[in-house]
């Protein structure tokens, strides 16, 4: 338990995830390899500070957020990987009523992956909220403001239930210049209290299909990916309420290495379908609009003599969605540096975002991310 609410306790989702992890660990292939492959462990701490300003009709809203992920990854060879970590998030909103802080929120993450013969990889992952209490009305309003920035800052999520995912991927084609992968996942989403009057939301479970192709095109390495996800029906107060539309993402990345320099161009197109809302007296009729998002990025990085440098620019363009950022465009230039020091690795990244939301309202943002990684075993 961090900061607020009832003490953390063992929940069915945790037990479920522990069961999956046990399956991963006890799988025959993993056991055989575990005797032979060296154990490696790595811990990573990567604090991040971010500030967003968003112009509204009544003035500017400011949101400051700090995000502290702490991760531990243990691997035995290429076929067994276990991860665990916590995300601690603290947020503050100023400029509009109500201003205030939303502290002490966080998630616990657990995950495991195993490689099986025949180029099959299975995984299980869970994300468990470290607090279970609903937010009082004033904090609900703060959370609502924070969620305006959610698209680009996904860990702003102020409250959410447990999530458990089962993942499977297979590589049917493995050639020297072409790889093809397909996979599927199922995500079970636990219910949680939304308001302090006890109203519960149970988001619909999500089924995903994915395919990917890696190819060598002359001096370039290209990767194409397609993910299609279909969420189930979400319930409010124990009854069906709404269904978010299905989503598809098409991604393309092209990488070029030239000695110590590496360049990468990424483009992703998200297509979100319309959702539907059931007719209920407690639901205000509103369209569940879909939309699309085009994001792109160009990065350059250089690593030499234990030092790494990088610079890049990302862009995002939203069309069709409802809400103040439903139609928005912004770009984010960034610079970063890293240094390897024996078993430690240090990194820093600075970015600035500028753009416009609906009705030409300004969006500005800046972020500073630091990271420290230490190899414990190798």
């Amino acid at each position: 338990m961090i900061g607020r609410g009832r003490p953390w306790r063992l929940r069915p989702g945790v037990l479920l995830a522990a069961g999956f992890l046990a399956v991963v660990l006890l799988a025959p292939s993993g056991r055989v390899r575990a005797e032979l492959d060296p154990l490696t462990a790595e811990v990573r701490v990567a604090p991040e500070l971010r500030r967003w300003t968003f112009e509204t009709a009544g003035g500017d809203d400011h949101a400051n957020q700090s995000y502290l992920p702490i991760d531990l990854a243990v691997t035995r060879g290429p076929d067994l990987r276990l991860t665990g970590g916590v995300d601690l998030v603290s947020s503050a909103v100023h400029g509009v009523d109500p201003s205030g802080n939303l502290d002490g929120l966080g998630d616990l993450r657990l995950g495991g992956e195993i490689g099986l013969p025949g180029r099959v990889r299975l995984g299980a992952a869970g994300r468990f909220a470290l607090h279970e209490d609903a937010l009082p009305p004033r904090e609900v309003r703060i959370a609502e403001v924070l969620e305006i920035f959610q698209l680009d800052f996904p860990y702003s999520r102020p409250a959410a239930g447990d999530r458990v995912r089962l993942l499977a991927a297979w590589q049917p084609v493995k050639l020297s210049r072409l790889l093809c992968q397909i996979g599927a996942s199922y995500e079970l989403r636990g219910s949680y209290a939304l308001r302090d009057d006890g109203l519960e939301l149970r988001p619909g479970s999500v089924f995903r299909l994915a395919a990917g192709v890696d190819a060598v095109l002359g001096p370039l390495r290209a990767r194409q990916g397609l993910i299609h996800e279909r969420p189930g029906t979400s319930q409010l107060g124990g009854a069906d309420a709404f269904e978010v539309g299905s989503r598809s993402v098409l991604t393309e990345s092209i990488a070029l290495e030239r000695g110590v320099d590496a360049f990468e161009l990424r483009v992703a197109l998200l297509l979100a379908g319309r959702g539907s809302v059931l007719s209920r007296p407690d639901l205000e009729a509103a369209p569940l609009r879909g939309g699309n998002e085009l994001s792109w990025g160009l990065t350059w990085s250089r690593s030499s003599g234990g030092w790494g440098f990088g610079a890049g620019v990302d862009g995002r363009h939203y069309r069709g969605f409802s809400g103040p950022l439903g139609r928005a465009d912004w770009v984010t230039p960034a610079v970063e540096a890293s240094r390897a020091l024996g078993r430690d690795s240090l990194g820093a990244r600075l970015d600035v975002s500028v753009g416009e939301g609906r009705s030409g309202r300004r969006i500005r943002g800046a972020g500073l991310a630091l990271s420290w990684t230490r190899t414990l075993l190798r």
């Binding site: 990889r121 698209l151 598809s248 320099d261 250089r302 003599g305 230039p333």
Partner: protein, 482 residues
Amino acid sequence: MNEDGASRTCGPARALLWLVLVPLLLPATAGAADAPGGRREALSLLAQGDALNARALFDSLLTVDPTDLTAGYLAARSDEQAQRPYRARCGYLEIEAVAPGTEEAELAGARRRTLEREEADRRFNLGPGWITSEKSRAPLTGALLLLPLEPLGEPAGAGYYGLSWTYLLHQALRGSGFCPLSIPSMLLVEDLLVDGKAVRAPTEISSLPVNTIGGLRARLAVLSGLTGEVYLESRDGGWDEDLRDALRQFQVDHQLPPTGEADLETQTTLERVLDGWLLQAPPPLPPHLVPRAMELLGASLAVRGTFRNEGGEVWVELTLLEPDGASLTQEPIVLHFPAGQTNRWAWVAAQRLAMAAGFDLATGSRPASNLSPESLESATRLLLLFDRGVGRLGERRWVELPREAFRWSLVREARTFTDVSAKQWDEREARLKARWGGAVQLDAARGLEALLRDLDAGASAEPGPFQVLGSRGTLVIRGNGP
């Protein structure tokens, strides 16, 4: 957006864009710009057999980027190709020490072990007369000879504990100012100097199965009968009367019916006897023979020592010797510790040895995991068998090894070396060269992992709960995005 707003937001944005674009547009530094061409040129020279010029080019590339492990590995490979095995071996040891677990370190370990085997086999094939010849002396290399510790208060040669120390010190001192000498050659020289007979099964013997004529002849040509003479004079030849006689003599010595035929029982006994012969612990080297051993191997320094093991407590005394046999330091290094902590204390001893000679251990050097005395002995026996020439240690030997022994990275390295065929090592090296030389390659495992990560992340951020729940007390569905 108004004019003022535009100028306010675009100013910093423009500055940052320049910050991004300028490094992209600026020409890279001379060394780095030359790196891709230099790499291809160096690889081309190496492929053409111009090892010395390739070595020079690898050195230049290492000046630009001293952390380039592949360049370091290929520099050592050039040394090997240029007939400078000592330099190549030390280069390989350094890579193994500074970057354990990397592809380069595994390839370096494989090349080093191959070199050590070839060197020991070559010396073995020179025959016992080699060590008595006045001309037999290796050029002084600055390397360190690690002699097995001698037991005090126990029958000479009992157990493998003294040899465990050789392996542990060898591992800890990789990549330090010392370049520890090859253990297979050390074992060979020690056997020859003390007993006048080499205990070794060269690759051409151990690689031939016992159920072949070549395999039978090779084994009978190295094993001695009760008379002290080898069963068969020459390994060359076919199924002749000499081989039948040798088989009969072997069968008589081992209480088998003297048929002169290589039946299954004879074959099994032959394998068992060969194993037992190869597994005899190396004899202690008397002090007066240490300078000669150093001379034969080209060592500039040697570590000699003793141990006493009583009631689970171990006392170890180590001395660093110069080529004339004189001690380099005034006081020996003395250690006292529980027997179950040998691996850690051997690392401490390596640190003190390095300090005494004015060196440092390699960056990142850590003590090997402690093993129980039984596991340490089992692991050492297996390593001894390996270093006396047995090329492919069968699965049975690994299964019989206590699981705990695999905590020692030296055991895992030996297993990797024996499990991977020479052809597979060559393929791995070719892939490394292609990758380093700029050829674009795909990593099948990473492709699969990336897809799993995509599935884990999902299509995009989901609508947050407070996008669903409005603040006005009624529920409002606001949409898929903000």
